[in-house]
Amino acid sequence: MNSRSTIPLLFERSRKGRKAFDLPPIDVPKTEHPIPAGLTGGEPPLPELSEVEVVRHYTALARRNFGVDDGFYPLGSCTMKYNPKINEEMPSLFEDIHPLCDFETAQGALDMMLGLEKALCEITGMDKFTLQPAAGAHGELTGLMMIKAYHEANNQHERNIMIVPDSAHGTNPASAAMAGFKVLEIKSAPDGGVDLEALKAAVNEKTAGLMLTNPSTLGLFESNIKEIAQIVHGAGGLLYYDGANLNAIMGIVRPGDMGFDVMHLNLHKTFSTPHGGGGPGAGPVGVKKGLMPYLPKPVLAEKDGKAFFDYERTMSIGKVKSFYGNFDVLVKAYAYILSLGGEGLREASENAVLNANYIQKKLSGTYHIEHDRLCMHECVITPGELSKYGIHTLDIAKALIDRGFHPPTIYFPLIVKEAMMIEPTETESRETLDAFVDAMLEIAEIAKADPEALHAAPVTTPVGRPDDVAAARKPVVRWEENE
C-alpha cells in the first residue's frame, strides 16, 4: 500500500472570479476618492476560492497533521498533555472586549487576571507575576531584562555575565544575549547536575546571575539547589528559574522556596493550554519582592475592590509587547487551575513523574538509560548497544511514527549524544505507555535483525523523510505564480 500523497496549495486551487466572502452593501453616502490615487494600489494577488473549497482544503491539511487528540506525544521538555475542552470554550466569553476600553468596562477580565496571578504566586512561591510575556522565551527575556535593570539600579553596571549550564534550552543563552548579557556556559557534572566547583570558579563580581531549569533537561532534580543559590547570591548574582519543567513539581516544591529570584512559566506546557502547532503560548514571569519595581508596564493592581492597570512605574523595564498578554491563553490556564484545584495539581505532577519512571524502567535493559536512577517527569535514553547495528536516534524516531506515536524530543539535551527525551505527562493511561514501550522494544528487535528496514521509516506517512539539505541550500519559502 502506498501512503504517499500530496495535496494542492491554496494558490493552485484558485480560479478567477470565485469568492467566499459576503459583506452587506455599504449603508452610508459615498465619498469620492477619499484617498489620493498615488497612495492606493490594485487588489492584492490573493487566491480566489469558494467557501467549500477553503473548508475542504484545511480539513485535508488537518488530516495530514498529528496532535495530542490523535495520540501519544511524549515530546520531552514540551509537556504535551491533554488539552481539556472546557478551557477552549471559555475565551469566547471575552472576545469582544477591546484592550483599550476603560477599566470599568473590563472589570471581569481584570478580576480573572488577578485570580490567575494569585494562583501562580501560590503555586511557585513568588510574590508577584506579570502576565504580559507571550511565550517561554519571551518570559526569559523579560526576566533577564529585569535582572539587568536591578543591577544597573544598584550601580552594578559591570555585572554583565549570565551563567548558563551546557544542558540548558537554547532559548536561555539566546535570551541572555538579547538582554545584553555575555553568556558563560558551564559544564555539567557527570551526574548531569550543576558542577558546584565549576560554578564556584565561574562566579565573581561580574556575575549577573545563573539560569537554571530544575528539574534539569535531563529530567533530574538538582538536589544541591540550596548550595547553588548560596554560591550565586553570595557572589551578588540573582537566580533565574526556567519553568519549562514545572510539571514535575506542582504542590511538591516551589521555585520561590528553592531560592530563585525570578522565573517564567509556560502556561502552554504545565497548565494544559494547547500548543497550537507552535503557539500562541503564554510566559508569565514571577518575581520576589526585590525585583517588583522592574516588572514590565503596566502592572495589574487593585484599589478599593477595583482592578486596574498601573502605568506609573518609574523603575519598570517598560513594555515587552502590546497590551497585556495572550489573554485567551490566560483564561484557559485559569480554567485548568480552577478545575484541578491544589490537590489536582499535585496529583498531576505525581502522575507525570510516575509515568516517566514507568517508561524508564520498562525501557531499561534494551535502551541505555543516561542516568540510571529515578527520574522526574521525563527520562533521557539513547540507542546504546543498538548503535553498533548502524541505528541512530533519528531512525528510532521515524519508526515510532509508523507505529502511530509522535517521537520523543531527539538530539536534546545537547550534552547527551543521540539523546531521546521522553516526557509522557500524567494524562496518558497505562495501556498507552505499555503500547509505546512495546513499540520501542519491537524497534530494538528490528534494529538488530533488519536495520535497513528502519532506515526506510516512516512508510505510513503522506511523505517520506524530506530532503532538508536541499531545502536549506536553495530555500523556497513561498509559492510563486510560475512554478
Binding site: A20, P44, N65, G67, I252, K321, P407
Partner: protein, 445 residues
Amino acid sequence: MRSYVPNTEPERQAMLKEIGLSETEELFSDIPRNLRLSRPLDLDKGKSEIEVRRIFKAFAENCESSMPVFRGAGAYRHYIPSVVPKLSMHSAFYTAYTPYQPEMSQGMLQAIFEYQTLICQLTGMDASNASVYDGATAAAESMLMARDIKRRRKILYSAGLHPDVQETLKTYARFAGMQAVSVPLFKDGLTDREALVKELKDSAGFILPVPNFYGLIENQAEIADLVHEQDGLLISYLNPISLGLLKRPGDSGADIAIGEGQPLGMPLSYGGPYLGFMACKAKFTRNLPGRISGETTDADGNRAYVLTLQAREQHIRRDKAASNICSNQMLCAITASIYLAVMGPGGLREAAVQSTQKAHYLAEKISSVKGMRLRYPNTPFFNEFVVDSDRDAKKIDKLVKDRGLIGGLPLSYANKGDNGILYCVTEMNSKSEMDTLISALEVSK
C-alpha cells in the same frame, strides 16, 4: 475535583510496584525534605465543569463587551466569517506542537508555507517567517534585523507609531545596547521629513507606520528614497486590512514589512493572542527571526515541507542567534490564512473600502458637530481620525458610553495632556450606530 489522569489508584499502585517503589512520595526522594512544601497548596478545591463555567460567566458578565465599538488604536473589530474559527480550531492543528517531525506534520508545514505566501502577496515581499508574538515584537525584531544587516546600532521610528509599539521598541533597544530615536510628526500628522533626513546618517533604518496611529497615510515611496539615500532600510509597519486598498510596501521601496495581524480574523479578546507578521525582500531572508517553512521533496520526489534555515535559530545558534524566539503565534497565523483565503482579493478590498468610506462619513458628521473639528483635515486617512474639541475627552467618553457605545480612544493614552479623541470605523459599524454616536456627541456638555 476534575482529574485528567486516566490511571486509577490501583493501577498507579501497580505501576509504582513495577518501578520498585511502595509509595508515591518515594518518587520525589531526590528533592531534599526541608525544601518540600509541607502543606497543601492554598488554592480552592477543584471544581466541576458546571462550576468553572459559572465562574467565567460571572467574570464575563462583569464586563460590558456587547456594545458597538468606535475604538481601534491597534486592535480592530472586523467581521470574522464563521468558517475561520471553525477551521482553525481543528484539533489536529491546535493540539499539535511545532512541526519538528515533518512526516507527521505536513498539514501544519504546508499551512505555514501558505501563510508565508499570503503575507508576501499582501505586502509585495519575497519571504515571510511563520509569525512572531505581535506587532510590537515584530517591530523590535525588525530593529535587530536592521542592526545585523547594516551593522549599525541606531534605529529611527516615527512618532506616529502605536505608543505600545514605541514602548516595546525602546525596551528592546535599551537592552540590546541600541539607540532608538523618535522622528517627530510634521503639523500635517505625517513624518517630518527634514527631521528624518537629519537623523538618518548612520541609522540602520526607519520604522514607518502606514497608516500611522492617527490613521494617516504616509507616502512610502518618497520616504523610501530618503532612507535609501543614506543606505538605511525602510521598515513599513502595516495594518493588513489597509493593504486591500493601499499600495503595497514591496511596490513602494520598503525593505521589510511588518505589522499587527490581528485584523485578519482574530477577535479583540482583551489584547491577545494576536499575530506579529514579518516579511522582507529576498536578500534578507536569512536575517528573518523564528521559524520558516520551506518546500523540498522526499527521496521519491514527492513535494514535502520542512522547517528550514534552522541554523539561524536559538536551538542551534544559542547565544549567537539573532533572536530567542521559539514558540510563536502559529494558530493565529493559520487563522489569518483562512481569513485571507475566504476574503480573497475582492473581499479584502471590500472590507478596506467599506472601512474607509464609513470612516470618512463619520469624520464629516463629527466635524459638523458644534465645537468639534478634525485635527488633520487635509491629510489622507484610512479608517481612523483624530477629533479635537473644547470639551474634555474623558467626559465625552463617559457620555457616549452612557448611550451604549464604546467611543473613540481619548488620546491621553498616547500623550499626557492630549485632549483629542481617536475614532475608528470598520465595516462592522452600521450607519445607525454612527448616527447614535453623533447624537450623543451633539448633546451639549
